[in-house]
């Protein structure tokens, strides 16, 4: 079992002990019985909170004043523990205790709902990490220290002598430090594996396997630990999930929870087989988002796409309704116009296309990539055309492209502004609005296939390319008001803890 230090008998005074700090690392799962009603309320409220975190993260700079203020408000609305720094254990009042308990339990419920697929896990981890960052930053520095101690997170500090020797390098390794004196700045020295985000972005000095982290950046190491633990825990939870899902009261509730906020995954299409290959060219100009239009164009031009492009575009096409046979025909006819002959195609590429449709290998049915996945993972490199044009194109090229697609100069300026602010999906949505001549698209874009469906809906193509019967749910309220589970009041007798066993 992987939840460290999880032992019932040790906790003599669980209330005070378990929730001593207003921020948690969620090392131990809850050990108590709770009612199904409470289970549901907790889960829905945490989802609301995470959804707010997601929305604010898209529309505001994380950590900015506006971002923090809005999150503050949501915290008090939803009664989650926040900033209340209790001076000593005795003062943990019932209200604060209740809040901390809710924070604890609701987190673990959502682990159950969000452990099942890579996309769900990615979404959940991202929001929880952002949430944690915001809460940790809000702590006063003494509480930060006590939090670290409480959770056994020890980091070595760097001595003055070593600091002086490395002075130049330390200064030029970190934005935070330039301008102030190295001797006045505290540094922690940790193995690079514990500060991957800082390593990845070259935000720290790295020597012989250790990173030198300025005091104020230690949060990143803490976050790294948090992220690693959470992602391991989700993998373990996923393994024990079959047991959980065998509970007929929980199964619909959990699946509802996981669908309510991430939106659909566009993998099962009602429209399958409703598109002919001849339609792809005209559709690519009218209803494809830029990322797919770009891939389509370069495929037609060079009769080839590298792996990243084939995956991104292939799954998108599957999502809009191409059958496996159509897909094979589509790729084969294009590739064989280039350097690949029939034989080579069948040997080297057909497999991976059948794979996409779950017909080979592990037989996983791959889902089309969401915007988040396109934007964040596997960035294009030399020879690649995949990725998100709003994220991965030079501003100048993007501008030219938009011009050639007849977007007005003022429209282009608006789009480029959004891109500059790193709001790639909003930029794409703006592009959607401009090219479809509407003021407000009325949806929030998070998936290339959603872009396609919305466009078809507007252009009246919906007769040919049908939407799914079950549209993605957007407004949090909608989800709260229609719980699919008809028996919310049944009492749960099972020990919640049982669901987190390593199966």
């Amino acid at each position: 079992m992987q939840f460290p230090g999880r032992q019932r008998k040790v906790i003599a005074n669980p209330k005070a002990e378990l929730y001593r700090h207003c921020l948690q690392f969620y090392g131990q799962p809850p050990l108590e019985n709770i009612s199904l009603t409470e289970f549901e309320t907790f889960a829905v409220e945490r989802l609301k909170l995470l959804k707010t975190v997601e929305n604010l993260g898209v529309s505001h700079v994380k950590g900015s004043e506006l971002y923090t203020n809005k999150l503050d408000k949501e915290f008090s609305n939803l009664h989650f523990p926040y900033k209340i720094e209790v001076k000593d254990d005795a003062k943990v009042g019932p209200t604060e205790y209740e809040k901390r308990r809710k924070d604890h339990i609701s987190h673990f419920i959502l682990r159950l709902a969000y452990c099942q697929t890579e996309d769900l896990r990615r979404w959940f981890i991202q929001q929880e990490v952002d949430l944690f960052r915001y809460r940790f930053n809000a702590l006063a520095s003494t509480y930060k220290t006590s939090f670290l101690q409480h959770n056994n997170l020890h980091y070595d500090t760097v001595g003055l002598e070593e600091k002086m020797v490395l002075s130049d390098k330390l200064i030029s390794s970190s934005y935070a430090v330039s301008g102030c004196k190295v001797e006045d700045q505290d540094y922690y020295k940790v193995p690079f594996q514990d500060a991957l985000d800082l390593v990845r972005n070259r935000k720290v000095y790295l020597k012989a396997g250790y990173v030198y982290i300025p005091n104020q950046d230690i949060i990143i190491t803490v976050l790294n630990d948090f992220r690693t633990q959470l992602s391991k825990a989700l993998a373990l939870t996923a393994r024990s999930l079959p047991t959980v899902l065998s509970d007929e009261r929980l199964q619909p509730l959990l699946s509802h929870l996981s669908h309510a906020y991430v939106g659909q995954d566009y993998s099962i299409q009602k429209s399958i087989g409703k598109i002919s290959l001849e339609q792809i060219d005209p559709l690519s100009g009218k209803s494809f988002p830029l990322c797919m239009r770009q891939l389509h164009q370069s495929l037609r031009e060079s009769h080839h796409l590298r792996h990243g492009g084939r995956m991104q575009y292939g799954l998108f096409l599957k999502g809009i309704g191409l059958t496996l046979d159509q897909a094979l025909q589509f790729w084969r006819s294009e590739f064989t116009k280039g350097k690949v002959d029939m034989d080579k195609f069948d040997k080297a590429y057909a497999y991976s296309i059948r794979h996409m449709f779950g017909k080979e290998g592990k037989r996983t049915d791959y889902t089309p990539y969401s915007c988040m996945k396109v934007i964040l993972s596997n960035p294009p490199s030399q020879g690649d055309h995949h990725g998100c044009p709003f994220r991965h194109s030079d501003a100048e090229l993007l501008k030219q492209k938009l011009q050639s697609y007849k977007v007005s100069p003022s429209g282009i300026a608006q789009i480029l502004d959004l891109v500059k602010g790193m709001h790639y999906q909003l930029a794409c949505q703006k592009y959607f609005e401009l090219t479809h001549n509407i003021e407000d698209s009325g949806f929030s874009l998070n998936h290339p296939n959603q872009y396609f469906l919305e466009s078809q809906k507007l252009l009246g193509g919906a007769r040919e390319v049908k939407r799914e019967a079950d549209p993605p749910q957007r407004a949090p309220d909608a989800a709260v008001k229609q719980p699919p589970n008809p028996q919310p009041l049944a009492e749960m007798t099972e020990d919640l803890d049982a669901y987190f066993q390593d199966g």
Binding site: S172, L196, V199, G209, T228, S298, S381, H385
Partner: protein, 428 residues
């Protein structure tokens, strides 16, 4: 890149000889067994073979060196790939409960392929290489080797020529083999400076302050740049390539240049472009405007190593094995001696036809028969001893020796904390 002495059609005839008499099985096993420190490390390692007609067999695994030998001599693979160490024997992966068969460890690997430099080399394209562009690989190895050792603290780096158009690096430290996927991708991204696909023109963007890692890397690039880029590649030699460079220079600076005129400090090469503007100036002057590093960016875009991040990221990603043959060129994938890096010549790497032929040549002197004393007192059987004598008579010998030396280093590392510590102090 074809070689005069090799004919792809002869491969099926040569492979049996190669695997029977030349392939360095004992070093190979010694490497992948890592001193037997971890149980079943060799036994749980995936090998995959590419056979005739591109038939690809994955999840091969072997209990002993002997079994590996027998199997390779039976199948005579055109190409050998090495994968991860798994939770179970890979050849039994179908028999274990689904989801439990998992890749646990693998060397941290890097793959640098010349085709990724096509937009910045003028001499060849695609799979072709020549001595002019090979410098790019030399630069790549110098930069990455330094960073992996000094920045990340790794010590056991095996550099290998891929047999055709690139190089591989196997980082074999225990800590490296245990890295998570996230850590591998962080290392690869730390080491990546050239970013963006076909939709990005300026692929290197620097900002202040310049990180020590970039400074160190720049120092390497600057050392090679005048000879490599200006002379060999003639980057400023003709209109198209000059235009390419100009596309990377910020507009305001181009403008200043055109109206400015004036006496510029001149660089090693005196080339005037069609705008009658001494471009060499652009490449020599340090920042014109604070915070702009375009000349550094240009040099890096042209010379900085281009990594295939996906290869490094995955624990279960397969990579071509050292001493595998490249079926197109016939060249053996051999280790590169870092100490002689500038002298490494891919065209001098032996092909399978050459070493097989060398085997048939009459023996020259008695000393060739000598077996190292170290090898003598081992308890090798006759076949093994004979094979050692065999490869020692060919031009493969010096490359096997490089692997031997590398393995001695790895073995020393396994010998306890004390030695490890004193080595660390020596190295840094």
């Amino acid at each position: 890149m074809t070689s005069a002495d090799y004919e792809p059609a002869s491969l099926p005839d040569l492979l049996p000889l190669y695997y029977r008499r030349l392939f360095p099985f004992s070093q190979y096993y010694r490497w992948l067994n890592y001193g037997g420190v971890q149980k079943n490390y060799f036994q749980h390692r995936e090998f995959s073979f590419t056979l005739k007609d591109d038939i690809y067999v994955r999840y091969q695994s072997f209990s002993t060196q002997n079994e590996l030998e027998k199997e390779m001599q039976k199948m005579n693979p055109y190409k050998i790939d090495i994968g991860a160490v798994y939770s179970h024997r890979p050849n039994q992966h179908n028999t274990v409960k689904s989801g439990t068969f998992q890749a646990l460890e693998k060397e941290l690997v890097f793959d640098i392929d010349m085709t990724d430099y096509d937009d910045v080399r003028s001499c060849c394209s695609a799979a072709d290489i020549c001595p002019k562009c090979w410098t790019l690989m030399t630069i790549a190895i110098r930069i990455l080797d330094r960073a992996l050792r000094e920045d990340f603290g790794f010590r056991h780096l095996l550099w290998v020529y891929s047999g055709r158009r690139g190089v591989h690096c196997w980082v074999c430290d225990e800590a490296a083999r245990k890295l998570s996927v996230a850590a591998r991708s962080a290392v690869a991204e730390y080491l990546s400076l050239v970013k963006g696909g076909e939709e990005t023109v300026r692929k290197v963007v620097l900002s202040d302050p310049i990180h020590p890692f970039i400074r160190e890397s720049l120092a390497v690039v600057e050392r090679y740049f005048p000879q490599y880029a200006l002379q060999d590649q003639g980057v400023l030699g003709h209109k198209e390539s000059v235009d390419k460079v100009l596309a990377l220079v910020p507009e305001d600076i181009l403008f200043m240049e055109q109206i400015g005129g004036g006496p510029y400090y001149d660089y090693t090469v005196h080339i005037q472009c069609q705008y009658n503007m001494p471009l060499s100036y652009l490449l020599s002057q340090s920042t014109v405007k604070k915070g702009q590093h375009f000349e550094k960016e240009i040099m890096l875009q042209y010379c900085y190593p281009r990594l295939d991040v996906n290869v490094s990221k995955g624990v279960n990603h397969l990579l071509k094995s050292p001493f595998s043959v490249h079926p197109k060129t016939g060249r053996i994938s051999v280790p590169i001696d870092f100490k002689q890096l500038d002298r490494f010549d891919p065209f001098d790497v032996p092909t399978i036809s050459r070493i097989c032929e060398e085997l048939d040549r009459p023996r020259v002197g008695e000393e060739e028969e000598q077996v190292d004393s170290k090898e003598k007192d081992g308890d090798m059987d006759a076949v093994e001893r004979r094979r050692i004598r065999d490869y020692k008579r060919t031009s493969l010998a010096k490359y096997v020796k490089i692997l031997d030396q590398f393995l001695d280093g790895v073995a020393r590392s396994n010998k306890g904390e004390l030695l490890k510590k004193s080595d660390l102090q020596k190295d840094f």
